[in-house]
Amino acid sequence: MSDQLLSPDHPSVVFACRGVQVYVKDGDTEKQIVRGVDLTVRRGEKHALMGPNGSGKSTLAAALMGHPSYRVEGDIWLNGERVDALEPHMRARRGMFLSFQYPVAVPGVTVANFLRASLAARRGTEIPVRAFRQELNAAFATMSIDPSFITRYLNDGFSGGEKKKLEILQMLLLKPAFSLLDETDSGLDIDALKIVSDGINLASGPDNGLLLVTHYQRILNHVQPDVVHVFMNGHLVRTGGMELVTALEERGYDWLAEEAAIPEGSRA
């Protein structure tokens, strides 16, 4: 992979990580989930991260965003700047975004108030109410979310599909440089999958990049990845293109585990 040879602070690179290891507390000891991951995402690129259930894909995504439950070693770069020592909100303000697999509800906080605060944080300036309303209405229309959701409490009582649509709506509004999309396709029916995929494509451009975490091929037919990685046992065991997706769909993950000489008990 010639991409890996690019320096993480090269101007064409929007996101990179080197030697990322992730540990979680396990009683009095620590358990290692990610055992050294290198990634280089160039501007305009869409990457897919595939792997079996329980392989730690979501952990990797949350750790890259700075989740406080994880201890992370290694370097993380965004737009040529090291961000691994920064708190999540500082990463977000610099243009990192995580679409959650299970977005948490925040009762009592309306979607409108939350989005206004997020936008102000990302843009570094308050947005006039009127301009905000217009922007919001347009985004809700794009994501086919009923405008009544604007005054509802954030993710409170939302269906799985509604939550995922709202995640991508936030991606559209916040215009991140680099997005981590964690199983954004899970729990979506065909119509919602189309809307969410269209939203991701609309939010993608020549200047930004994304990493789409999934274990299904389904969404990759709508959001065509430029690079596909397979993540198993804490490592990226294979990197390729769409042909890798087809191979996984036909053969499953076991053949890759055998190639990578991963013991049967550690393939998740």
């Binding site: 965003m65 406080p68 708190e87 999540p88 977005p103 925040v106 009762p107 409490y153």
Partner: protein
């Protein structure tokens, strides 16, 4: 550690005598009837046992911390309006502020006699404090600032009556009395400000809502750090009376607020909406009691407390439904949000139901802020303070949403700055 509570209280109880109470009555312009009411209270005070620390009411707060060391014959504030004085005006502000001339500001014209200042300690028609209540006897005997108000039957006051009690003496014993006549409407906002490390406040408020009266009452406590105090509000609701009690507890160190409501007439309704925001080493103890004395009465309590740093919130609440009070509905809810691992909350709701034909429920929760919520908000660019603020405002939202707009914005004018200082303190 075995604490000898009895001796602590006995030594902490301020000494009162006849001469002192007569001096107080004289300075405050009290008549002979007031003197005899004070002396009768003195007899009760001397007989009153120390609060029972085993019962829930005083289980979490040591009353000795709240009592003033001594009471003098000097009033706590210069102004006390005890002589009957008719006031014209729909919106009234009464400042009980030491060293200042009487400050009564009114706005808008009302018919003369619609609102009248009266003695603050006129005998209460019914209900009131339980016999033997030490704090009630102390207040009845030695109250040293206060105001009484009467709203004539049928009068609907357009604006609120603000009473501002600024505590600065070592012992401040304010007394507020409001009588709302048959079918009348009034809103009373009590502001408790001032205080300091050497200031103790023991206040009592009595509200009498006649049949069909509609009363909005708010108690906002924003004492300075170091202040300890006890505020008791006793309300009686006549038939079809409608009472809304709003409380906001923000200041002081060791504080206790007791809200007692007697639903005395059929069809009476009482709602208590409260919030407390405490941090540092503050302890906010709030007790509510709803006594359903008549049938077809309804009550509702929604009290939320937020505790940061090492602060502590205590809630004890009692709903008592008498045997004769059938077809009552009562609901009590207390939720606590802890902003730090060292903050603490206790919630003890109690029901005492003496007949079968009632609908009653209660709920209490104590929970820390969900770190996943903070991470989610952080991942959208909100710094930890902003995220915490948003979560706390969300926590309070459905409680504040129960309030009419004017009451809500009044409460929010206190919650917002308090929240900011809690966050700055690294809660």
């Amino acid at each position: 550690m075995a604490e000898d509570t009895t001796s602590v209280i006995a030594s902490a109880r301020p000494a009162l005598d006849e001469g002192l109470l007569k001096a107080l009555a004289a300075t405050l312009g009290g008549d002979a009837a007031q003197v005899s009411r004070r002396l009768a209270a003195l007899a009760r005070y001397e007989k009153a046992a120390e609060p029972d620390r085993v019962r829930h009411l005083w289980r979490f707060t040591n009353p000795a911390l709240l009592l003033p060391a001594s009471v003098t014959g000097a009033p706590a504030t210069d102004i006390v309006l005890t002589s009957a004085a008719p006031v014209a005006g729909a919106s009234v502000t009464i400042d009980l502020w030491p060293g200042q001339a009487p400050a009564v500001q009114t706005a808008e014209d009302l018919p003369v006699g619609a609102l009248v200042f009266t003695a603050a300690d006129e005998p209460f028609a019914a209900g009131g404090a339980p016999a033997g209540d030490l704090f009630a006897a102390l207040g009845d005997a030695a109250w040293n600032t206060g105001v009484g108000l009467q709203v004539a039957a049928g009068v609907k006051l357009a604006g609120p009556i603000h009473v501002r009690v600024h505590a600065s003496a070592a012992a401040v014993l304010p007394r507020v009395r409001l009588d709302v006549g048959r079918g009348a409407e009034a809103m009373l906002v009590e502001h408790h400000t001032g205080g300091g490390p050497d200031v103790r406040v023991a206040g009592s408020t009595v509200i009498n809502a006649a049949d069909g009266a509609r009363v909005r009452h708010a108690v906002v406590q924003v004492w300075e750090p170091g202040t300890c105090g006890h505020l008791a509000v006793r309300t009686r609701a006549g038939a079809d009376a409608d009472i809304l009690t709003v409380c906001g507890v923000f200041g002081g160190d060791e504080t206790k607020l007791e809200l007692g409501t007697d639903l005395a007439g059929a069809g009476a309704h009482s709602e208590i909406v409260g919030v407390a925001l405490v941090a540092g080493k503050q302890h906010a103890d709030v007790h509510t009691s709803h006594r359903h004395l008549a049938g077809h009465t309804t009550s509702r309590i929604d009290y939320k407390a937020v505790a940061g740093q090492q602060a502590r919130s205590t809630y004890t609440g009692l709903i008592r439904i008498e045997e004769r009070a059938t077809h009552c509905e009562a609901y009590q809810e207390n939720r606590n949000l802890l902003l730090s691992s060292r903050a603490r909350a206790d919630a003890i709701p109690e029901l005492e139901i003496h007949n079968q034909e009632v609908s009653c429920s209660h709920g209490a929760t104590i929970a820390p802020v969900d770190p996943e919520q903070l991470f989610y908000l952080g991942s959208r660019g909100l710094d930890p303070h902003e995220a915490m603020g948003l979560v706390v405002r969300g926590f309070l939202e459905n409680t504040l949403a129960r309030l009419p707009d004017d009451a809500r914005s009044m409460v929010e004018s206190f919650t917002a700055p308090r929240l900011a200082t809690i966050r700055e303190g690294g809660a």
